[in-house]
Amino acid sequence: MRIERKSWNDPVLVATVAPLALVMVAFLLVPLLMTAVLTFQTTQYYRLVWTWDLKIWTEVFSKPHYWTIMIRTVAMALVCVVLTVLIAFPAAYALATRLRTFKTQIQILIIFAFLTDAVLKTFGWILILDKNGVANWLLMHVGLPPEMLNLLFTPAGTMIGMVYNLVAYPMFTIYLSLVRIDRDLILAAYDAGASRVRTFFEVTLPLSRPGLYSGAVLVFVLSLGAFLEPKVLGGGTSPLASELIRQSFETRVNWPLGAALTVVLIAIGALMLVACAAFALRRTSATGRSA
């Protein structure tokens, strides 16, 4: 295969890339830069005062409660990633292998659930998790004590909502990876005497990693910004970073503080992603060497 080298002097290349680059600069880099600049400002009587001041950063680094909430947010996001992947992988695997007859119908159902507004879905869970809700009603009718489940307004309630709202992402990315696996590779493994389990762990799982990783990254990033679930299903008693940021911007009308916390959250997310990318690359190259 001939690789065509392109130069940045090529006007066609520049013209092709420029629109996307402009969009990225205007709608991603500039707002991020403005947010960062905002962190060095102060407020006086709910109005921004344009100065260069480290007061907000001093507050962020001197008050441990901001970091408590940030750590809680990252922990919840990681748990959410694990749970969504654990649920999504078997579902995607079944969809790609065992349920091919009903594939379209199931995909339509998942897409419907995925496209339904998150507010509706989250409030819907109240009807299920409430002490007089569907879950307790079902448990009571199978002979368990009434009001056995007490998940509403707990961190577990938050997690249920987050997993439910985000599970479709890894389901689709993993499914796309699974259907692209060459069936002959699996058959070759069987021919070589590998069991189904060994084939899964040595052929299917490694080849589905791109979908698994991309799904995990999507869930992680979206979990960091989870807002509705901790507020509605978690009862607001264990706030996550997005609520902290909202409170700073809206309730306290402290925009520099809100901006600083936003920058912290973005930085934590970016660092985690870089670490995960490095880990994934190391795994991939290690797999390549051993092969």
Partner: protein, 385 residues
């Protein structure tokens, strides 16, 4: 503005002619149809005068807005706020140049004075409106004053105290906030996540008047009382419907920080066993809080007469009555003449027989000098929970 409408119509007509001439009849008709629909929907946008209005829900009801638009040939653009502080911040950030008037919580209307974008009320011009108010709200009305000048007119009010389901608890139990800290009520308390609203009553219970300048010791007392309250708190809920549902089914035995704003609509729907009361004074400190919404004019350089007219309109008895009873919430209004317009059922839902008792035992919710310190403490204690 009328001229603008004619210009658009002729342009569309010309476009239609050209479209036909160029053999693009379908597209032309489509444009004409879209254009006529657009013009119909923008009828009020082509009105003689326009008004940009920032307000809470209820103030934007068509039954309130449309008669004014018709009678004044005016168009009103609404910007709904869901957070008083956020609305104020928007104005302070520069939107005050675009808006003519705002309806928000009274401390935020009062704050427009020192913030420098308030168009003060000429009390002589509004003498007829003040004369219709209950004596408690007449000029000079201190909670809305800045440097002796009125920043707005009161439009809705109520009180903040424990909201109780009397099917589960006697009202006497809640003659103080003590049950909030009682282990018998563990996981049965709901705090309303409405900014400073839940903080103020708890501070009062701690013996701290949050509407005065607070020193470090007083702020420490606020910290302790919030920490203790969080121990029994099942949820901190921003959504009124969720809080009301929990109160009705007994998941929550009391809502703290909502008061009549969380109660009256339920009572209107027949849940008259739900009540908001004001606790007894504790060590001489009144434990109830009177909250109030107000409407103020914004100094955007236009000095718009129609904004003043709308302000007079919104506090008039008929409109005040509509403002009192909305789908989402039901609240008291300061216009005494509106009282005669309420049915007995509505008066009962609004707990009108109790309103002056509540008034007498309450602080007025006004600008709290240390509010940011208290909100920071709230954040810190919630994180540490």
């Amino acid at each position: 503005m009328k001229k603008g409408t004619a210009d658009i119509s002729s342009t569309i007509a010309a476009m239609k002619r050209r479209s036909v001439l160029k053999g693009m009849g379908g597209l032309g008709l489509g444009l004409a149809a879209a254009g006529s629909g657009f013009l119909a929907s923008r009828r009020y946008a082509s009105a003689a005068e326009s008004l940009n209005y920032m307000c809470w829900e209820g103030y934007n009801a068509p039954s309130i807005i449309e008669p004014f638009q018709k009678s004044k040939d005016a168009s009103i653009s609404i910007d709904l706020i869901t957070d008083s502080a956020g609305g104020f911040a928007k104005l302070a950030a520069g939107a005050s140049r675009d808006f003519d008037l705002v309806s928000s919580d009274s401390p935020w209307i009062q704050r427009m004075g020192p913030a420098g974008f308030c168009r003060y009320i000429d009390e002589a011009d509004f003498a007829d409106q003040f004369a219709e108010f209950y004596p408690q709200f007449r000029a000079p009305f201190e909670p809305l004053a800045f440097e002796g000048k009125a920043t707005g007119l009161p439009t809705r009010w109520g009180w903040v105290g424990p909201t109780v389901n009397t099917k589960f608890d006697k009202l006497e139990t809640w003659s103080s906030y003590a049950p909030v800290f009682d282990s018998a009520y563990k996981d049965k308390i709901c705090l309303l996540d409405w900014g400073d609203w839940p903080i103020m009553p708890l501070a009062l219970y701690a013996g701290v008047n949050p509407y005065e300048e607070l020193d470090a010791a007083a702020l420490e007392e606020v910290r302790k009382v919030l920490r203790a309250a969080f121990k029994n708190t099942r949820a901190i809920v921003a959504d009124l419907a969720v809080a009301q549902k929990g109160l009705i089914d007994g998941s929550f035995r009391a809502l703290i920080g909502g008061g009549t704003y969380a109660t009256s609509a339920l009572r209107m729907k027949g849940h008259d066993y739900i009540q908001s009361i004001v606790p007894e004074p504790k060590n001489g400190l009144k434990q109830g809080i009177i909250w109030m919404e107000a409407t103020g004019l914004i100094d955007n350089g236009k000095n718009s007469q129609i904004a003043s007219d709308f302000l007079k309109y919104i506090v008039s008895p008929d409109v005040a009555k509509q403002l009192a009873i909305t789908e989402a919430t039901c609240n008291l209004v300061p216009n005494s003449k509106a009282e005669a317009l309420f049915s007995d059922e509505e008066k009962k839902a609004l707990q009108m027989d109790y309103m002056w008792t509540a008034w007498d035992n309450s602080q007025f919710h006004t600008v709290a000098p240390n509010i940011d310190d208290m909100l920071a403490i709230w954040q810190e204690e919630l994180a540490a929970r």
